[in-house]
């Protein structure tokens, strides 16, 4: 046996997965509450103790971890135009697995600085201007940020012509200051890879220690990345395959949580019909979106508010009934549905969250009437032909109504301009291993792929 220990220090649970590289099987999975306040190792030991140890003891050849504990990787991004470099910076941060607290555009104001101080991000991402384009905003914002009272890690990914100069300004106050390639080197060209790597690097060298997660590093080898980055990495591997081992092709992963709903798509999303024109910022092939207002527990109130009548219609309930259930969710976020009514409410909430999160993730089609007839303009990804949707996350995996929840991701003929998958096959990450496989990809990509193909099962 060649056992590898994979750990996900989650915001709530510490999840462990043990795999055998030889048999390409999962030996065990377990979870226990994350113990960031005391010692992160306590939760890890409690989880590990649940998996029966072989007589000769564990002899892990690798021990790798990812983390979203202690608030995850919190970032603030800034750019010049909201729809262009600010949006590109936001996407780079999301792709790096961050929780994006705020996105600023144009020149930063003193109020913006106050907001930054108040929300205490782990990393700032500073963009603005295409290469050779606008220079003022990067320099002015760097100068403003050098007045912040707190020292923060900063990644610069703006106009290359003034990046070094902006870095010099920032270094007067902040540390480390890393220069990456521009997130938008040319207008309408998205280039997030370099910024993603820089963010991950800062996460490894600075953030883990700042959050007290380094206590675990005496036992494990390394906390390698934020958990969402591990999931995105696993998704990429599963879609694209490795060497001669084929992947599953283009796919989407939906993760419904207590506070947010995450959607990852690994797909090009080119127009599926002829004579459709693509407009707007190109989308990353591996795209992640996070909906902070769509969660089952901590953001349940926002979810009910956003869905409004749709939820009532779906349940066939009155507003009072919904308010009553909502009260229960708020009282005890950890409750598990006991009555049939509660279960029904949970499924309905999940389905609304999935439906809206996928609505926002996919692209849209717009009809433009020209003197020569109607023309179609597509913004974002056309995922109507996407063949595979995978469900993951506690809410879906432990809910008997999971399939019904996932159906929310399907194309709605009444909203034909929202380009959701029309006839996808549903799969479930039954053993909850995607983040672990993203980690395993770092050391044994082929085994990680094969394990996913074995354990991610069709519904």
């Amino acid at each position: 046996m060649q056992a590898v220990l994979l750990i996900d220090f989650g915001s709530t649970y510490t999840k462990v997965t043990i795999v055998d590289l030889i048999s390409e099987e999962i030996i065990g999975t377990a979870r226990a509450g994350t113990t960031i306040e005391t010692n992160i190792m306590d939760g890890l030991k409690a989880a590990l103790a649940q998996i029966p140890e072989p007589v000769e003891g564990w002899n892990f050849i690798r021990k790798l971890a990812c983390s979203s504990a202690a608030g995850g990787l919190k970032m603030i991004a800034s750019g010049l135009v909201k729809e262009l470099t600010a949006e590109a910076a936001r996407r780079a941060a999301l792709g790096a697995g961050a929780r994006v607290l705020e996105v600023f555009s144009y020149e930063l104001t003193t109020q913006d600085l106050d907001k930054i101080s108040a929300s205490q991000p782990d990393i700032l991402l500073l963009a603005g201007g295409t290469d050779g384009g606008n220079k003022e905003v990067l320099l002015k914002n760097a100068e403003m940020l050098s007045r912040l009272p707190t020292r923060l890690p900063v990644v610069i990914a703006g106009n290359k012509v003034v990046s070094a100069q902006a870095a010099d300004l920032l270094r007067k106050r902040h540390e480390p200051v890393v220069v990456a390639d521009n997130v938008m080197p040319e207008l309408g060209v998205l280039s997030v890879e370099s910024a993603r790597l820089a963010i991950r690097d800062v996460f490894l060298t600075h953030i883990i220690k700042a959050k007290g997660l380094d206590k675990a590093e005496a036992f494990i080898e390394k906390i390698m990345m934020p958990t969402p980055a591990a999931v995105l990495s696993a998704a990429e591997l599963l879609a694209q395959g490795y060497g001669s081992e084929r992947g599953m092709g283009e796919l989407m992963i939906v993760d419904v949580g207590g506070a947010t709903t995450d959607v990852h798509s690994i797909a090009k999303g080119d127009p599926s019909k002829p004579s459709v024109m693509l407009k707007g910022l190109p989308e990353p092939f591996a795209k992640r979106t996070v909906e902070g207002d769509l969660g089952m527990r901590f953001s349940s109130e926002a979810l009910v508010e956003t869905t409004g009548k749709r939820l009532l219609d779906y349940l066939g309930w009155t507003e009072d009934q919904v308010a009553c259930q909502l009260g229960l969710c708020k009282e005890d976020p950890w409750r598990i549905p006991k009555t049939e009514e509660e279960a029904k409410f949970d499924v309905a909430m999940g389905r609304m969250a999935v439906s809206l999160a996928v609505d926002r993730h996919v692209g849209t089609l717009e009809v433009v009437y020209t003197p020569f007839g109607a023309t179609y303009v597509q913004h974002g990804k056309d995922l109507t032909q996407l063949p595979v949707i995978i469900g993951t996350g506690g809410v879906l995996l432990y809910n008997p109504g999971a399939s019904e929840i996932l159906q929310g991701a399907i194309f709605n003929p009444n909203e034909p301009t929202i380009l959701k998958p029309q006839k996808p096959h549903f799969y479930m990450d039954k053993e909850y291993i995607l983040a672990a496989m993203g980690l395993l990809r770092e050391v044994a990509p082929l085994v990680a792929l094969r394990i996913m193909k074995k354990y991610v099962v069709k519904q």
Binding site: L80, T130, G133, K135, M184, V368, T370
Partner: protein, 139 residues
């Protein structure tokens, strides 16, 4: 000279792509960095592109006769977004029917455009004008 940037596009619900390609080629050959935002471009797309790329000029094409409607307010929006002094050129079949071009030109100049070109203008003319407006004495 430092390469100057131009934003090029066809405004409004207009899908005429051929002239757009020709202008892209001609201005690139003349040494400009062309940011081509293509057909079906809104005023906002012109402005956003010009801000990010620090462009010197917007080259607005309109071939389908609705140019006057589509271009109205562009100068004011530029002023509002901090690029009020950018050069703005417009050309194409700007209006419907056979109207006196001098009157059309006057209307577009009043809207804040710096140069207005009639149908059938060859690219050399706006290129020469642009070099002049930018104070570049060539080669």
């Amino acid at each position: 000279m430092e390469q100057k940037t131009v934003v090029l596009g066809v405004i409004g619900s207009d899908v005429h792509a051929v002239g757009n390609r020709i202008l892209d080629y001609a201005f690139s050959q003349a040494g400009f960095k062309v940011i081509n935002i293509g057909v079906l471009s809104t005023q906002e797309e012109f402005i956003h592109a010009a801000i990010e790329t620090n462009a010197e000029v917007m080259l607005v094409s309109s071939l389908y006769g609705h140019g006057e409607m589509d271009c109205r307010g562009l100068r004011e929006k530029c002023q509002e977004t901090g690029i009020g002094n950018i050069l703005m050129y417009v050309g194409g079949n700007l209006v419907i029917g056979k109207q006196d071009f001098e009157l059309v030109k006057e209307r577009f100049l009043a809207m804040g455009f710096d140069r207005v070109y009639p149908p059938g203008t060859m690219p050399e003319i706006p290129i020469a004008d642009l070099l002049k407006d930018l104070g570049i004495t060539h080669n």
